[in-house]
């Protein structure tokens, strides 16, 4: 027997060891929130998820330097931007110092008559030319930067300046000491776009580390160092938030699992004062979690951090199975017999809960499917381990009754207390019906572990940098690049009207910078022929003091412009000019997409109406906020449906197991009561219910079911009953402590799950105890 047991331990340890090695070495853990979102759904939902996961806007990094004199900050900004440009991981870095020189000046200058939106045939009439020349005469004598004067002979109509102005559109950022500064605070501003996708977290993490070390380098090079002692780098943007979220979730998961395990171990040891029991108690749990984790990996290819954190909380349920078995040891019973005796109850509890989760597998929400799969496999494996593996591991003589089992005042629990359950049900429902606080969480942003002050700072930095808050956008999807550009241009009339009516303050589209080939050719056709232009110019120059031959270069470049091949994205893709366009015009699956960013929406309804009445079917208006909220609501409704189906199945299984309608009802009433009270308490504590609360409520259901099933079991002796109830109490205590810890998490999702199960398990235990009081006539 001893050799069999030793062998069993050996094989179990080897299997678990291999599992652990495999899991830690090859299962990727992701923490990006968007990965929890579904990949199916309407086209605009797909667009939305794509934008969130890898869209150009997800790669934007907003930076601010503060904590020193403006002149010092400016120096630091230049050094930081320089280091970033040399680093190669940024598509572009803007800090204000390069606004004149950053774009490919030669190319833009050569193509100025094709790129400038001011080019019309009318512009080259003698009258308009005259006006342009008068303006140039004014500029000439002004203390303005030299390029204004230098370009006069070649570009008297100022086409190039208008191209530059288009490129700088919206960038009316305050300049000081040669770099961008906040309008109201001494903060130097920078904006960059990373080459890697926003949610490639390892790469983004490396970029964050690079920024930190660059800041250190800057500190080291400036003397005296005290000048930069309090220099601080503010960072924001989707990728920054993603990296921070991961750090927070990882940190939470680490300390919670450590502390949780510690708690459970201490509790078990204090209760049973036996290392053997402790080890045995952990066997089903470890086996279940590991098997479940590997299964999720096999199905999904990765495990999400949230799934893992939730999975770890299954400790609360899986540890119960062996504890129930231990309660039935002793009285000369063999461990195998004790386990066989409690097995039907464990099986019923585990299968019903697993079936409840099973319904969520089909929710279409990857996050929930993962969670459901982990919970199902985890619970079933833990139950199976308790039944078939644990008996092989338990020593033949193990009788470790809970010493304090007889201290509990079971007699005090009278049948009159049962009234508490219906009363609390009525009160909870009444409170929920009357309360005016929002019941559901509709804002996905609140699920992010990023604190509000950092989110506010993001809004501030965006405003200061004139970066459109990436909230409202129109996406145009068309077969090719030119169609996207042409459709964008066609939309300008509508958009300009919206701007003029004050519904929004502006917009930004690729066609602003790179007009469609059709538009460029129209402009070329609008350019006058050399002879006409020469005559017009002569007429315009009359009475002005310009030297007669001064504008020969202008005439020449007009001829040149007429013979230029129009620019398209391919011809400019390797120039700095392209960096501005790349985030607004890009290949999308087999097609091309254009993003039109909308600045400061004032009247969302009017914009939506105008866009929807536009006949083009290629347009998709996305308000990231509305879209994400709509998605959250849709999926919550879906989950509620699946949950209802799950609960239906659960009751069916329960009916099959208990074979009595009355028994099913007596088991379900305390559970229903505890879930209602749980909901009322969560609401009172200001929690807004999300998908994750719902998933946690299912766990509460499973835990409650476990408790009531064991409470209502028939018993042969009073001692056995005392031991059973004490075991349930230990189970309940472990669950309450583990989830109580989780409720302290900074991650809203984990906090929500923790609080739900904390209240739920506590109430479930009390209600089960109240509904099944110790009845002497039955116990003897």
């Amino acid at each position: 027997m001893i050799t069999t047991r030793a062998l069993a331990w050996f094989f179990w340890l080897v299997a678990i060891g291999c599992g652990v090695v495999f899991a830690t070495s090859s299962i990727p853990i992701h923490t990006e929130l968007p990965l929890l979102l579904p990949s199916s759904g309407s086209f605009s939902q797909q667009l939305f998820v794509d934008q969130l996961q890898s869209g150009p806007t997800s790669r934007i990094v907003l930076l601010g330097l503060r904590g020193a004199e403006p002149a010092v900050l400016a120096k630091a900004s230049k050094k930081l931007a320089d280091a970033m440009r040399k680093h190669g991981q940024f598509l572009h870095v803007y800090n204000g110092e390069q606004t004149q020189n950053d774009f490919n000046q030669d190319l833009l200058f050569r193509y100025r008559y094709l790129l400038s939106s001011t080019v019309t045939a009318d512009q080259f009439s003698p009258e308009r030319l005259r006006q342009s020349l008068e303006h140039r005469l004014q500029d000439m004598a002004n203390p303005l930067p030299a390029f204004f004067k230098k370009q006069i002979p070649e570009d008297p109509t100022g086409a190039f300046q208008s191209v530059l102005q288009q490129l700088r559109s919206g960038n009316t950022i305050k300049m000081a000491h040669g770099v961008w500064f906040s309008s109201d605070q001494p903060v130097a501003l920078l904006i960059a776009e990373t080459a890697v996708a926003g949610f490639d977290l390892d790469a983004q993490d490396a970029i964050q580390n690079f920024l930190t070390s660059s800041l250190e380098d800057i500190r080291a090079t400036v003397s005296p160092p005290s000048v930069l002692a309090s220099l601080e780098l503010l960072r924001s943007g989707p990728s920054v938030f993603a990296v921070q979220s991961r750090a927070v979730i990882q940190q939470d998961a680490q300390w919670l699992s450590l502390l949780g395990s510690g708690f459970v171990i201490i509790l078990l040891f204090v209760t049973y004062r036996s290392f053997t029991i402790l080890l045995l108690g952990l066997v089903p749990l470890v086996t279940g979690l590991l098997t479940a984790g590997i299964t999720v990996y096999m199905v999904f290819g990765f495990i999400h951090g949230m799934t893992l954190a939730f999975g770890a909380t299954l400790i609360g349920v899986a540890i119960d199975y062996p504890l129930h078995a231990f309660a039935h040891l002793g009285s000369g019973r063999s461990p195998r017999r004790a386990i066989v005796q409690v097995w039907p109850t464990i099986l019923l509890g585990a299968t019903t809960t697993a079936v409840g989760y099973g319904a969520m597998l089909f929710s279409g929400f990857p996050g929930l499917s993962q969670l459901a799969l982990l919970a199902m496999i985890g619970l079933l494996t833990a139950a199976a381990t308790t039944r078939w593996i644990l008996p092989l591991l338990i020593p033949a003589q193990l009788d470790q009754p809970i010493p304090w089992a007889s201290w509990i005042p079971y007699e005090r629990v009278t049948s009159r207390l049962i009234l508490i359950v219906p009363v609390s049900m009525v009160l909870s429902l009444g409170y929920l019906a009357v309360s005016e606080k929002p019941f559901w969480e509709t804002d996905i942003a609140n699920l992010s572990p990023i604190p509000q002050n950092l989110r506010d700072r993001d809004i501030w930095l965006r405003k200061e940098l004139g970066a459109p808050a990436v909230r409202d956008m129109i996406i145009i999807v068309a077969p090719d690049e030119q169609h996207v550009l042409e459709q964008s241009e066609a939309l300008k009339v509508t958009l300009d009207q919206l701007v003029n009516r004050g519904h929004m303050t502006g917009y930004e589209m690729a066609a602003d910078y790179l007009p469609s080939i059709r538009t460029q050719m129209l402009r070329q056709r609008a350019l006058p022929d050399p002879a006409t232009l020469r005559n017009s110019l002569r007429e315009a120059q009359q009475g002005l003091p310009f030297k007669p031959s001064l504008f020969e270069p202008f005439l020449q470049s007009m001829t040149d412009s007429q013979h230029l091949a129009p620019l398209d994205f391919r011809t400019i893709q390797d120039t700095p000019f392209a960096t501005k366009i790349r985030s607004l015009l890009y290949p999308y699956h087999d097609q091309w997409a254009g993003t039109i960013l909308i600045r400061e929406v004032q009247n969302l309804g009017a914009i939506e109406h105008a866009i929807h009445t536009d006949t083009s079917s290629a347009l998709h208006f996305l308000n990231l906020k509305t879209e994400s909220n709509r998605m959250v609501t849709t999926y919550r409704q879906e989950v509620t449906t699946y949950l209802a189906i799950g609960v239906g199945f659960l009751i069916l299984i329960l009916g099959l197991g208990l074979r009595s309608f009355q028994k099913v009802a007596t088991v379900l009433i305390p559970i229903a009561g505890s879930i209602m009270l749980d909901l009322a308490l969560l609401h009172a504590f200001g929690e807004r219910l999300s998908l994750f609360h719902l998933a946690a409520l299912l766990l509460v259901f499973g835990i409650g079911l476990d408790y009531t099933l064991f409470f209502q079991r028939p018993f042969t002796t009073a001692t056995e009953r005392q031991q059973t109830i004490s075991a349930i109490m230990v189970c309940s205590l472990t669950t309450i402590s583990v989830f109580g810890l989780l409720a302290c998490s900074q991650t809203p999702v984990l906090h929500g799950i923790g609080l739900t199960v904390f209240f739920g398990s506590l109430i479930s235990f009390l209600f089960a105890a109240i509904c099944f009081p110790l009845q002497p006539q039955k116990s003897t």
Partner: protein
């Protein structure tokens, strides 16, 4: 044909430059007086006192007439308006004739406004070193800060009993179209003329009117 023309022009220019190099080895070809070695101690004290005395007269608003000569023009252009300096660093040039325009320099910012053309542009002086040098020099002068002035320019002064002339030559040679030199002329403690010579040969002569009461 054109190529031949270019060659001959290049040869001609090399003679001109070579000649300048031979005859004026100490200076660039600029319109102001040549550089002088740093003044002696007593002279430095004199200069300090002189610049300081000059600063007193620049604090009030002055009207000006400006004439601009350019290589692009056959005849010069004229502007009229007011000039005011508010210590320590605000300089406002307000043009009233022929059209309303204003240039307001505060700190590192240059704001150019032209209401009739609906222009309002802000530049950072750091982006345009030539312009920054010019403004830096004028500020130092108006603040009476001889030390700062000498950090940016080689300064030379010549006196008669009533009149004086101050020549400022930028210490860091500017890129093309930069400031070649600045010539300031005055009587007693009053600044009368600011002449700015550009490296491309253009020059502006700004005559400040007698102090308005």
């Amino acid at each position: 044909m054109t190529f031949g023309k270019q060659i001959s022009r290049a040869i001609l220019w090399s003679f001109v430059w070579g000649g300048l190099f031979l005859f004026e080895p100490l200076s660039h070809s600029h319109a102001c007086k040549t550089t002088q070695p740093l003044p002696l101690k007593e002279e430095q004290a004199d200069l300090n006192r002189f610049i300081k005395s000059l600063a007193q007269s620049t604090l009030r608003e002055r009207t000006f007439h400006e004439t601009y000569y350019s290589h692009m023009l056959t005849t010069p252009t004229h502007k009229e308006g007011t000039l005011v300096f508010q210590p320590p660093d605000r300089l406002v040039k307000h043009v009233q004739i022929p059209t309303e325009e204003s240039f307001i320099v505060t700190g590192d910012n240059l704001l150019y406004e032209n209401p009739s053309r609906e222009i309002s542009l802000t530049f950072s002086l750091q982006e345009f070193p030539a312009l920054a040098t010019l403004i830096d020099g004028l500020r130092a002068l108006f603040n009476g800060d001889a030390e700062r002035l000498q950090q940016v320019f080689f300064v030379s002064v010549s006196h008669t009993t009533d009149a004086w002339e101050l020549n400022l030559l930028p210490k860091t040679p500017n890129e093309e179209d930069g400031v070649d030199c600045i010539r300031l002329v005055g009587e007693h403690a009053f600044l009368r003329t600011i002449e700015i010579h550009e490296t491309n040969g253009d020059r502006s002569i700004l005559v400040l009117d007698r102090q308005t009461p």
